[in-house]
Amino acid sequence: MAKAGEYIGRERTCGRSRRVLWSAALAMVASLAAAQAPLPGGPPAGADPNAVTAALGPPPPPPLPANAPPPATDPRNLNGAWYHTDALVFQITTDMFGNPTPYNDAGKKVMARRVKSLKDGTPFLNASARCLPVGQPWQMDLNMPFLILQSQDRIEFAFEEYHGLVTVQMDPAKALPPSYMGRSVGHWDGDTLVIETSGFKQPVWVDVTGSPASRNAKLTQRVRKVKTDHWILEDIFTLEDPAYYTRPWSWARQYDWRPDMTLFREYDCEVQTGAKDGMDPSLVSEPREPDEPNE
Protein backbone atom coordinates (compact mmCIF):
# COMPACT_ATOMS: atom_id res chain seq x y z
CA MET A 1 0.00 0.00 0.00
CA ALA A 2 1.30 3.42 -0.85
CA LYS A 3 2.17 5.73 2.03
CA ALA A 4 0.32 8.96 2.65
CA GLY A 5 1.73 11.67 0.44
CA GLU A 6 3.09 9.40 -2.26
CA TYR A 7 0.39 10.59 -4.61
CA ILE A 8 1.96 13.99 -4.91
CA GLY A 9 3.52 14.53 -8.28
CA ARG A 10 2.00 11.58 -10.05
CA GLU A 11 0.05 11.90 -13.22
CA ARG A 12 -3.67 11.88 -12.79
CA THR A 13 -4.49 8.91 -14.92
CA CYS A 14 -6.99 6.29 -14.02
CA GLY A 15 -6.11 2.82 -12.91
CA ARG A 16 -2.90 2.62 -10.90
CA SER A 17 -2.87 6.29 -9.89
CA ARG A 18 -6.45 6.08 -8.70
CA ARG A 19 -5.57 3.17 -6.42
CA VAL A 20 -2.60 5.12 -5.11
CA LEU A 21 -4.78 8.13 -4.41
CA TRP A 22 -7.28 6.14 -2.38
CA SER A 23 -4.52 4.29 -0.55
CA ALA A 24 -2.76 7.51 0.33
CA ALA A 25 -5.96 9.10 1.51
CA LEU A 26 -7.02 6.13 3.57
CA ALA A 27 -3.59 5.84 5.17
CA MET A 28 -3.64 9.53 6.08
CA VAL A 29 -7.15 9.31 7.49
CA ALA A 30 -6.28 6.17 9.41
CA SER A 31 -3.18 7.75 10.95
CA LEU A 32 -5.03 10.89 11.91
CA ALA A 33 -7.91 8.91 13.32
CA ALA A 34 -5.49 6.70 15.22
CA ALA A 35 -3.93 9.77 16.77
CA GLN A 36 -7.31 10.63 18.21
CA ALA A 37 -8.78 7.20 18.91
CA PRO A 38 -8.11 5.37 22.17
CA LEU A 39 -5.29 2.86 22.01
CA PRO A 40 -6.64 -0.59 22.81
CA GLY A 41 -4.74 -1.86 25.84
CA GLY A 42 -2.73 1.35 26.11
CA PRO A 43 0.36 2.45 24.20
CA PRO A 44 3.04 -0.10 23.24
CA ALA A 45 5.62 -0.88 25.91
CA GLY A 46 8.45 1.64 25.88
CA ALA A 47 6.35 4.21 24.02
CA ASP A 48 7.24 7.76 24.91
CA PRO A 49 4.34 8.96 27.08
CA ASN A 50 4.79 12.47 25.82
CA ALA A 51 4.35 11.33 22.21
CA VAL A 52 0.98 9.87 23.16
CA THR A 53 -0.21 13.04 24.85
CA ALA A 54 1.27 15.22 22.11
CA ALA A 55 -1.15 13.57 19.71
CA LEU A 56 -4.03 14.87 21.84
CA GLY A 57 -2.95 18.45 21.56
CA PRO A 58 -4.11 21.41 19.53
CA PRO A 59 -2.41 21.49 16.14
CA PRO A 60 0.13 24.27 15.64
CA PRO A 61 -1.44 27.47 14.35
CA PRO A 62 -0.64 28.60 10.80
CA PRO A 63 2.27 31.02 10.47
CA LEU A 64 1.63 34.69 11.14
CA PRO A 65 0.50 36.72 8.13
CA ALA A 66 3.35 38.51 6.39
CA ASN A 67 2.07 41.93 7.47
CA ALA A 68 2.05 41.07 11.18
CA PRO A 69 4.02 43.60 13.21
CA PRO A 70 7.25 42.28 14.73
CA PRO A 71 8.09 42.66 18.41
CA ALA A 72 9.68 45.93 19.55
CA THR A 73 13.27 46.39 18.42
CA ASP A 74 14.44 47.06 21.98
CA PRO A 75 15.57 43.63 23.21
CA ARG A 76 14.37 44.53 26.70
CA ASN A 77 10.84 45.25 25.48
CA LEU A 78 8.94 41.98 25.69
CA ASN A 79 5.47 43.56 25.54
CA GLY A 80 2.96 41.59 23.51
CA ALA A 81 1.31 38.25 23.01
CA TRP A 82 3.24 34.99 23.11
CA TYR A 83 2.10 31.40 22.65
CA HIS A 84 3.54 28.00 23.50
CA THR A 85 3.19 26.27 20.16
CA ASP A 86 5.13 23.12 20.98
CA ALA A 87 3.21 20.14 22.32
CA LEU A 88 2.52 20.28 26.03
CA VAL A 89 4.91 17.92 27.77
CA PHE A 90 2.74 16.04 30.27
CA GLN A 91 5.74 14.54 32.03
CA ILE A 92 9.21 16.17 31.88
CA THR A 93 11.24 12.98 31.65
CA THR A 94 14.62 14.48 30.77
CA ASP A 95 16.47 17.70 31.35
CA MET A 96 17.46 19.87 28.39
CA PHE A 97 20.49 17.67 27.71
CA GLY A 98 18.61 14.40 27.62
CA ASN A 99 19.61 13.27 31.11
CA PRO A 100 16.77 11.65 33.04
CA THR A 101 14.99 14.06 35.36
CA PRO A 102 17.01 13.76 38.60
CA TYR A 103 14.30 12.76 41.06
CA ASN A 104 15.63 11.69 44.44
CA ASP A 105 13.93 8.91 46.41
CA ALA A 106 11.31 11.27 47.79
CA GLY A 107 10.60 12.60 44.30
CA LYS A 108 10.32 9.09 42.86
CA LYS A 109 7.92 8.14 45.63
CA VAL A 110 5.63 11.05 44.87
CA MET A 111 5.76 10.36 41.14
CA ALA A 112 5.00 6.67 41.66
CA ARG A 113 2.00 7.62 43.77
CA ARG A 114 0.71 10.06 41.17
CA VAL A 115 1.27 7.72 38.22
CA LYS A 116 -0.49 4.94 40.11
CA SER A 117 -3.44 7.23 40.78
CA LEU A 118 -3.85 7.76 37.04
CA LYS A 119 -3.58 4.08 36.21
CA ASP A 120 -5.94 3.17 39.06
CA GLY A 121 -8.49 5.64 37.82
CA THR A 122 -8.44 7.70 41.01
CA PRO A 123 -6.59 10.82 39.85
CA PHE A 124 -5.72 13.45 42.41
CA LEU A 125 -7.12 16.91 42.93
CA ASN A 126 -4.55 19.62 42.42
CA ALA A 127 -4.47 23.38 41.96
CA SER A 128 -5.37 23.09 38.29
CA ALA A 129 -8.45 21.01 38.97
CA ARG A 130 -9.52 23.42 41.70
CA CYS A 131 -8.88 26.51 39.58
CA LEU A 132 -6.38 27.84 42.07
CA PRO A 133 -3.25 29.46 40.65
CA VAL A 134 -1.20 26.55 39.38
CA GLY A 135 2.22 27.89 40.23
CA GLN A 136 5.25 28.14 38.03
CA PRO A 137 6.41 26.57 35.77
CA TRP A 138 3.09 24.81 35.00
CA GLN A 139 1.47 28.08 33.97
CA MET A 140 4.18 28.65 31.33
CA ASP A 141 3.69 25.25 29.68
CA LEU A 142 0.10 25.47 28.54
CA ASN A 143 -0.96 25.87 24.95
CA MET A 144 -2.82 29.09 25.55
CA PRO A 145 -1.42 32.57 24.97
CA PHE A 146 -0.08 35.06 27.48
CA LEU A 147 0.52 38.78 27.38
CA ILE A 148 3.61 40.47 28.71
CA LEU A 149 2.95 43.96 30.05
CA GLN A 150 5.90 46.02 31.23
CA SER A 151 5.86 49.17 33.30
CA GLN A 152 8.55 51.17 35.07
CA ASP A 153 9.07 48.74 37.90
CA ARG A 154 7.50 45.46 36.99
CA ILE A 155 6.70 42.95 34.29
CA GLU A 156 3.30 41.29 34.33
CA PHE A 157 2.62 37.97 32.63
CA ALA A 158 -1.13 37.69 32.08
CA PHE A 159 -2.31 34.25 30.99
CA GLU A 160 -5.46 33.19 29.23
CA GLU A 161 -5.61 29.87 31.04
CA TYR A 162 -6.89 30.07 34.62
CA HIS A 163 -6.91 33.89 34.12
CA GLY A 164 -3.44 33.42 35.60
CA LEU A 165 -1.04 36.19 36.56
CA VAL A 166 2.65 36.34 37.39
CA THR A 167 4.08 39.65 38.56
CA VAL A 168 7.84 40.03 38.27
CA GLN A 169 9.06 42.85 40.47
CA MET A 170 12.16 44.45 39.03
CA ASP A 171 12.91 46.16 42.35
CA PRO A 172 13.71 43.47 44.93
CA ALA A 173 12.65 45.84 47.71
CA LYS A 174 9.12 45.58 46.35
CA ALA A 175 9.01 41.76 46.39
CA LEU A 176 5.43 40.62 46.93
CA PRO A 177 4.32 38.19 49.66
CA PRO A 178 4.56 34.41 49.12
CA SER A 179 1.79 33.22 46.87
CA TYR A 180 0.55 30.26 44.85
CA MET A 181 2.57 31.49 41.86
CA GLY A 182 5.58 32.14 44.08
CA ARG A 183 7.18 35.51 44.48
CA SER A 184 9.14 36.56 41.40
CA VAL A 185 11.95 39.08 41.24
CA GLY A 186 13.67 39.98 38.01
CA HIS A 187 16.77 41.71 36.71
CA TRP A 188 18.42 42.17 33.36
CA ASP A 189 21.63 40.36 32.53
CA GLY A 190 22.50 42.09 29.30
CA ASP A 191 19.43 41.44 27.18
CA THR A 192 18.39 38.36 29.13
CA LEU A 193 15.64 38.74 31.70
CA VAL A 194 16.49 36.65 34.74
CA ILE A 195 13.46 35.80 36.89
CA GLU A 196 13.98 34.21 40.29
CA THR A 197 10.92 32.71 41.90
CA SER A 198 10.62 31.33 45.41
CA GLY A 199 8.12 31.65 48.23
CA PHE A 200 5.49 29.20 47.02
CA LYS A 201 2.45 29.16 49.26
CA GLN A 202 1.92 25.45 48.63
CA PRO A 203 3.86 22.71 46.86
CA VAL A 204 3.43 22.84 43.10
CA TRP A 205 3.04 20.31 40.34
CA VAL A 206 5.82 21.01 37.87
CA ASP A 207 4.05 19.16 35.07
CA VAL A 208 0.68 17.59 34.34
CA THR A 209 1.62 14.13 35.58
CA GLY A 210 2.83 15.63 38.84
CA SER A 211 6.58 16.07 39.04
CA PRO A 212 6.76 17.66 42.49
CA ALA A 213 8.25 20.88 43.81
CA SER A 214 8.17 21.82 47.47
CA ARG A 215 7.35 25.19 49.00
CA ASN A 216 11.08 25.80 49.26
CA ALA A 217 11.74 25.24 45.58
CA LYS A 218 13.58 27.92 43.68
CA LEU A 219 12.86 28.41 40.01
CA THR A 220 15.11 30.52 37.81
CA GLN A 221 14.17 31.55 34.30
CA ARG A 222 16.44 33.10 31.71
CA VAL A 223 14.26 34.73 29.10
CA ARG A 224 15.27 36.46 25.92
CA LYS A 225 13.80 37.44 22.56
CA VAL A 226 15.35 35.50 19.71
CA LYS A 227 14.80 35.58 15.97
CA THR A 228 14.93 32.14 14.42
CA ASP A 229 12.93 32.12 11.21
CA HIS A 230 10.32 33.87 13.34
CA TRP A 231 10.38 35.71 16.64
CA ILE A 232 10.35 33.63 19.80
CA LEU A 233 10.82 34.07 23.49
CA GLU A 234 13.39 31.56 24.65
CA ASP A 235 13.02 30.51 28.29
CA ILE A 236 15.53 28.32 30.09
CA PHE A 237 14.07 27.02 33.35
CA THR A 238 16.23 25.81 36.23
CA LEU A 239 14.61 24.14 39.22
CA GLU A 240 16.48 23.87 42.48
CA ASP A 241 14.65 21.74 45.03
CA PRO A 242 16.72 19.39 47.19
CA ALA A 243 13.49 18.05 48.69
CA TYR A 244 12.74 16.12 45.49
CA TYR A 245 15.76 16.33 43.18
CA THR A 246 19.39 15.33 43.53
CA ARG A 247 20.62 18.48 41.81
CA PRO A 248 19.35 21.63 40.07
CA TRP A 249 18.17 20.77 36.60
CA SER A 250 17.13 22.72 33.53
CA TRP A 251 14.81 22.48 30.60
CA ALA A 252 13.98 24.86 27.77
CA ARG A 253 10.84 26.23 26.21
CA GLN A 254 10.14 28.57 23.32
CA TYR A 255 7.12 30.80 22.88
CA ASP A 256 6.08 32.17 19.52
CA TRP A 257 5.40 35.87 19.00
CA ARG A 258 1.68 35.84 18.17
CA PRO A 259 0.12 39.30 18.02
CA ASP A 260 -2.90 37.55 16.49
CA MET A 261 -3.53 35.88 19.85
CA THR A 262 -3.74 39.09 21.87
CA LEU A 263 -7.48 38.74 22.42
CA PHE A 264 -8.15 36.05 24.99
CA ARG A 265 -11.01 33.63 25.26
CA GLU A 266 -12.78 33.69 28.60
CA TYR A 267 -11.55 31.25 31.22
CA ASP A 268 -14.04 31.50 34.08
CA CYS A 269 -13.27 28.20 35.79
CA GLU A 270 -14.69 29.25 39.15
CA VAL A 271 -18.20 29.20 37.75
CA GLN A 272 -17.67 25.42 37.84
CA THR A 273 -15.19 24.77 40.64
CA GLY A 274 -16.52 27.42 42.99
CA ALA A 275 -19.94 25.83 43.11
CA LYS A 276 -20.76 23.66 46.12
CA ASP A 277 -21.03 20.65 43.82
CA GLY A 278 -18.41 21.95 41.46
CA MET A 279 -15.39 19.74 42.06
CA ASP A 280 -15.19 16.84 39.66
CA PRO A 281 -16.33 13.73 41.56
CA SER A 282 -13.82 11.54 39.77
CA LEU A 283 -10.91 13.32 41.49
CA VAL A 284 -9.74 12.38 44.99
CA SER A 285 -7.60 14.06 47.63
CA GLU A 286 -3.97 13.05 47.47
CA PRO A 287 -2.83 11.09 50.52
CA ARG A 288 0.45 12.23 52.00
CA GLU A 289 3.09 10.39 53.98
CA PRO A 290 3.89 11.89 57.40
CA ASP A 291 7.58 12.21 56.51
CA GLU A 292 7.06 13.94 53.18
CA PRO A 293 9.20 17.02 52.71
CA ASN A 294 7.71 20.33 53.53
CA GLU A 295 4.08 19.27 53.70
Binding site: L149, L165, T167, Q169, F264, D268
Partner: protein, 230 residues
Protein backbone atom coordinates in the same frame (compact mmCIF):
# COMPACT_ATOMS: atom_id res chain seq x y z
CA UNK B 1 15.07 50.08 31.61
CA UNK B 2 14.41 53.69 30.70
CA UNK B 3 14.18 52.84 27.01
CA UNK B 4 11.53 50.17 27.52
CA UNK B 5 9.46 52.39 29.75
CA UNK B 6 9.62 55.13 27.16
CA UNK B 7 8.62 52.91 24.24
CA UNK B 8 5.71 51.34 26.13
CA UNK B 9 4.35 54.65 27.32
CA UNK B 10 4.97 56.08 23.88
CA UNK B 11 2.03 54.01 22.72
CA UNK B 12 -0.17 55.56 25.35
CA UNK B 13 1.20 59.03 24.67
CA UNK B 14 0.47 58.72 20.95
CA UNK B 15 -3.23 58.19 21.68
CA UNK B 16 -5.72 61.05 22.23
CA UNK B 17 -5.68 60.39 25.97
CA UNK B 18 -3.50 58.45 28.34
CA UNK B 19 -5.66 56.51 30.77
CA UNK B 20 -2.79 54.33 31.95
CA UNK B 21 -2.30 53.90 35.63
CA UNK B 22 -3.90 52.51 38.73
CA UNK B 23 -7.48 53.45 39.55
CA UNK B 24 -9.86 52.94 42.46
CA UNK B 25 -13.58 53.66 42.72
CA UNK B 26 -14.24 56.92 44.52
CA UNK B 27 -17.45 55.87 46.28
CA UNK B 28 -17.74 52.10 46.76
CA UNK B 29 -21.26 50.92 46.05
CA UNK B 30 -22.97 47.57 45.56
CA UNK B 31 -25.50 48.84 43.02
CA UNK B 32 -25.38 51.25 40.13
CA UNK B 33 -27.26 54.48 40.69
CA UNK B 34 -29.45 55.03 37.62
CA UNK B 35 -29.73 58.54 36.29
CA UNK B 36 -33.35 59.47 36.79
CA UNK B 37 -33.46 57.48 40.02
CA UNK B 38 -35.10 54.23 38.94
CA UNK B 39 -34.07 51.26 36.86
CA UNK B 40 -36.70 51.01 34.10
CA UNK B 41 -37.55 47.33 34.31
CA UNK B 42 -39.84 45.44 32.01
CA UNK B 43 -42.34 43.20 33.82
CA UNK B 44 -40.10 40.21 33.24
CA UNK B 45 -37.04 42.12 34.40
CA UNK B 46 -38.78 43.31 37.53
CA UNK B 47 -39.85 39.80 38.40
CA UNK B 48 -36.27 38.51 38.10
CA UNK B 49 -35.05 41.47 40.17
CA UNK B 50 -37.55 40.73 42.92
CA UNK B 51 -36.68 37.03 42.85
CA UNK B 52 -33.06 38.05 43.39
CA UNK B 53 -33.96 40.34 46.27
CA UNK B 54 -35.92 37.53 47.90
CA UNK B 55 -33.06 35.09 47.39
CA UNK B 56 -30.65 37.57 48.96
CA UNK B 57 -32.94 38.06 51.96
CA UNK B 58 -33.24 34.30 52.33
CA UNK B 59 -29.45 33.89 52.07
CA UNK B 60 -29.72 31.91 48.83
CA UNK B 61 -26.86 33.72 47.10
CA UNK B 62 -25.94 30.57 45.24
CA UNK B 63 -29.25 30.74 43.39
CA UNK B 64 -28.49 33.96 41.55
CA UNK B 65 -25.13 35.57 42.41
CA UNK B 66 -22.35 33.29 41.19
CA UNK B 67 -19.69 35.96 41.65
CA UNK B 68 -20.31 36.12 45.38
CA UNK B 69 -21.27 32.49 45.89
CA UNK B 70 -18.64 30.84 43.67
CA UNK B 71 -16.00 33.44 42.80
CA UNK B 72 -17.18 33.36 39.19
CA UNK B 73 -16.38 36.49 37.23
CA UNK B 74 -18.75 39.37 38.07
CA UNK B 75 -18.64 40.20 34.38
CA UNK B 76 -19.53 43.55 32.91
CA UNK B 77 -20.60 46.07 33.94
CA UNK B 78 -20.37 44.79 37.52
CA UNK B 79 -16.56 44.62 37.37
CA UNK B 80 -16.57 48.41 37.07
CA UNK B 81 -17.98 48.53 40.62
CA UNK B 82 -15.01 46.69 42.09
CA UNK B 83 -14.03 48.22 45.44
CA UNK B 84 -10.44 47.12 44.74
CA UNK B 85 -8.01 48.58 42.25
CA UNK B 86 -7.61 48.09 38.54
CA UNK B 87 -4.70 48.96 36.29
CA UNK B 88 -5.24 50.31 32.79
CA UNK B 89 -2.65 49.40 30.17
CA UNK B 90 -2.64 50.95 26.70
CA UNK B 91 -0.83 49.02 24.01
CA UNK B 92 -0.90 48.89 20.22
CA UNK B 93 -4.44 48.01 19.20
CA UNK B 94 -5.67 47.12 22.66
CA UNK B 95 -6.52 48.61 26.03
CA UNK B 96 -6.54 46.34 29.05
CA UNK B 97 -8.06 46.67 32.48
CA UNK B 98 -6.25 44.43 34.92
CA UNK B 99 -8.40 43.92 38.02
CA UNK B 100 -6.94 43.28 41.44
CA UNK B 101 -9.96 41.13 42.29
CA UNK B 102 -9.18 37.55 41.42
CA UNK B 103 -6.65 38.48 38.72
CA UNK B 104 -9.29 39.18 36.09
CA UNK B 105 -8.49 40.88 32.82
CA UNK B 106 -10.77 42.95 30.62
CA UNK B 107 -9.75 43.60 27.02
CA UNK B 108 -10.87 46.43 24.76
CA UNK B 109 -10.09 45.80 21.10
CA UNK B 110 -9.15 49.17 19.58
CA UNK B 111 -8.92 47.74 16.07
CA UNK B 112 -5.74 47.30 14.10
CA UNK B 113 -4.60 44.11 15.77
CA UNK B 114 -3.31 41.49 13.38
CA UNK B 115 -6.26 39.67 11.95
CA UNK B 116 -7.70 37.21 11.58
CA UNK B 117 -7.61 36.10 15.19
CA UNK B 118 -7.30 32.45 14.51
CA UNK B 119 -8.21 30.39 17.52
CA UNK B 120 -11.02 28.39 18.93
CA UNK B 121 -10.71 26.39 22.12
CA UNK B 122 -9.20 23.34 20.51
CA UNK B 123 -7.34 24.55 17.48
CA UNK B 124 -7.25 27.07 14.68
CA UNK B 125 -10.46 28.82 13.71
CA UNK B 126 -12.23 32.13 14.23
CA UNK B 127 -11.87 33.25 17.82
CA UNK B 128 -15.43 34.29 18.51
CA UNK B 129 -17.32 31.39 17.03
CA UNK B 130 -17.52 29.16 20.08
CA UNK B 131 -18.00 31.91 22.63
CA UNK B 132 -20.71 33.49 20.54
CA UNK B 133 -22.81 30.40 21.27
CA UNK B 134 -22.99 30.96 25.01
CA UNK B 135 -21.71 34.48 25.50
CA UNK B 136 -19.18 35.65 28.05
CA UNK B 137 -19.43 37.24 31.42
CA UNK B 138 -16.90 39.77 30.08
CA UNK B 139 -17.06 40.03 26.29
CA UNK B 140 -14.15 41.50 24.38
CA UNK B 141 -15.19 45.11 24.12
CA UNK B 142 -14.68 47.27 21.01
CA UNK B 143 -13.29 50.73 21.53
CA UNK B 144 -12.49 53.89 19.62
CA UNK B 145 -11.63 57.46 20.48
CA UNK B 146 -13.96 60.38 20.08
CA UNK B 147 -11.78 63.33 20.94
CA UNK B 148 -10.34 62.51 24.32
CA UNK B 149 -13.18 60.15 25.21
CA UNK B 150 -12.82 56.40 24.90
CA UNK B 151 -16.10 54.98 23.60
CA UNK B 152 -16.46 51.29 24.35
CA UNK B 153 -19.24 48.89 23.34
CA UNK B 154 -19.76 45.41 24.71
CA UNK B 155 -22.07 42.70 23.37
CA UNK B 156 -22.23 38.92 23.40
CA UNK B 157 -23.05 38.37 27.04
CA UNK B 158 -23.81 35.16 28.86
CA UNK B 159 -27.00 35.30 30.93
CA UNK B 160 -25.62 34.01 34.23
CA UNK B 161 -24.18 37.24 35.66
CA UNK B 162 -25.75 40.31 37.22
CA UNK B 163 -25.55 43.98 36.25
CA UNK B 164 -24.62 44.73 39.87
CA UNK B 165 -25.47 42.96 43.12
CA UNK B 166 -29.13 42.38 42.23
CA UNK B 167 -30.14 43.67 38.81
CA UNK B 168 -30.43 40.86 36.24
CA UNK B 169 -29.78 40.87 32.52
CA UNK B 170 -30.06 38.53 29.55
CA UNK B 171 -28.07 37.52 26.50
CA UNK B 172 -29.01 40.66 24.61
CA UNK B 173 -27.39 43.09 27.03
CA UNK B 174 -25.47 45.86 25.30
CA UNK B 175 -23.22 48.32 27.08
CA UNK B 176 -21.88 51.60 25.78
CA UNK B 177 -19.28 53.32 27.93
CA UNK B 178 -17.74 56.75 27.66
CA UNK B 179 -14.48 56.85 29.58
CA UNK B 180 -12.60 60.08 30.02
CA UNK B 181 -10.31 61.91 32.38
CA UNK B 182 -12.16 64.64 34.22
CA UNK B 183 -8.82 65.74 35.60
CA UNK B 184 -5.34 64.22 35.71
CA UNK B 185 -6.32 61.95 38.61
CA UNK B 186 -10.02 61.42 38.04
CA UNK B 187 -11.47 58.92 35.58
CA UNK B 188 -15.14 58.88 34.73
CA UNK B 189 -17.03 55.95 33.20
CA UNK B 190 -20.46 56.83 31.90
CA UNK B 191 -22.30 53.57 31.20
CA UNK B 192 -25.41 53.12 29.07
CA UNK B 193 -27.21 49.83 29.73
CA UNK B 194 -29.59 48.33 27.18
CA UNK B 195 -31.42 45.00 27.26
CA UNK B 196 -34.93 45.03 25.79
CA UNK B 197 -35.96 41.83 27.60
CA UNK B 198 -35.04 43.26 31.01
CA UNK B 199 -35.34 47.06 30.67
CA UNK B 200 -38.06 49.04 28.95
CA UNK B 201 -35.52 51.58 27.75
CA UNK B 202 -31.78 52.26 27.92
CA UNK B 203 -30.59 53.74 31.20
CA UNK B 204 -27.40 55.49 32.22
CA UNK B 205 -25.16 55.50 35.24
CA UNK B 206 -21.82 57.13 36.05
CA UNK B 207 -18.93 55.79 38.09
CA UNK B 208 -15.90 57.82 39.12
CA UNK B 209 -12.41 56.56 39.93
CA UNK B 210 -9.42 58.24 41.55
CA UNK B 211 -5.84 57.62 40.55
CA UNK B 212 -3.82 55.74 43.18
CA UNK B 213 -0.20 54.67 43.45
CA UNK B 214 0.85 52.22 40.74
CA UNK B 215 1.87 49.41 43.07
CA UNK B 216 1.64 45.79 42.00
CA UNK B 217 -1.18 43.66 43.34
CA UNK B 218 -0.44 40.96 45.85
CA UNK B 219 -1.90 37.71 44.56
CA UNK B 220 -5.67 37.79 44.97
CA UNK B 221 -7.45 34.43 45.04
CA UNK B 222 -11.17 34.67 45.62
CA UNK B 223 -11.60 30.93 46.16
CA UNK B 224 -9.51 31.20 49.34
CA UNK B 225 -12.22 33.34 50.87
CA UNK B 226 -15.12 31.00 50.17
CA UNK B 227 -16.23 28.93 53.15
CA UNK B 228 -15.15 25.33 52.62
CA UNK B 229 -18.48 23.98 53.75
CA UNK B 230 -21.16 25.98 52.04
Amino acid sequence: MLSLAVSASATAAAEPANLEGMWKIEAPQMAFRPEGGVVPFTAAGRKRYQDNKRALAEKRLGDFDFATARCASPGLPRLMLTPQRFRIWQREGIILMQFEWNRLLRQIDMGGLVSPQIRVVSGPGPVVSEEALVGRSTPISRGHWEGDTLVVTSEGFADNTLIDNLVPHGYDLKLTEHLRLRGPDVLEDRIRIEDPATFSRAWDTVVTYRRVADEAFAENVCLDSLPVNR
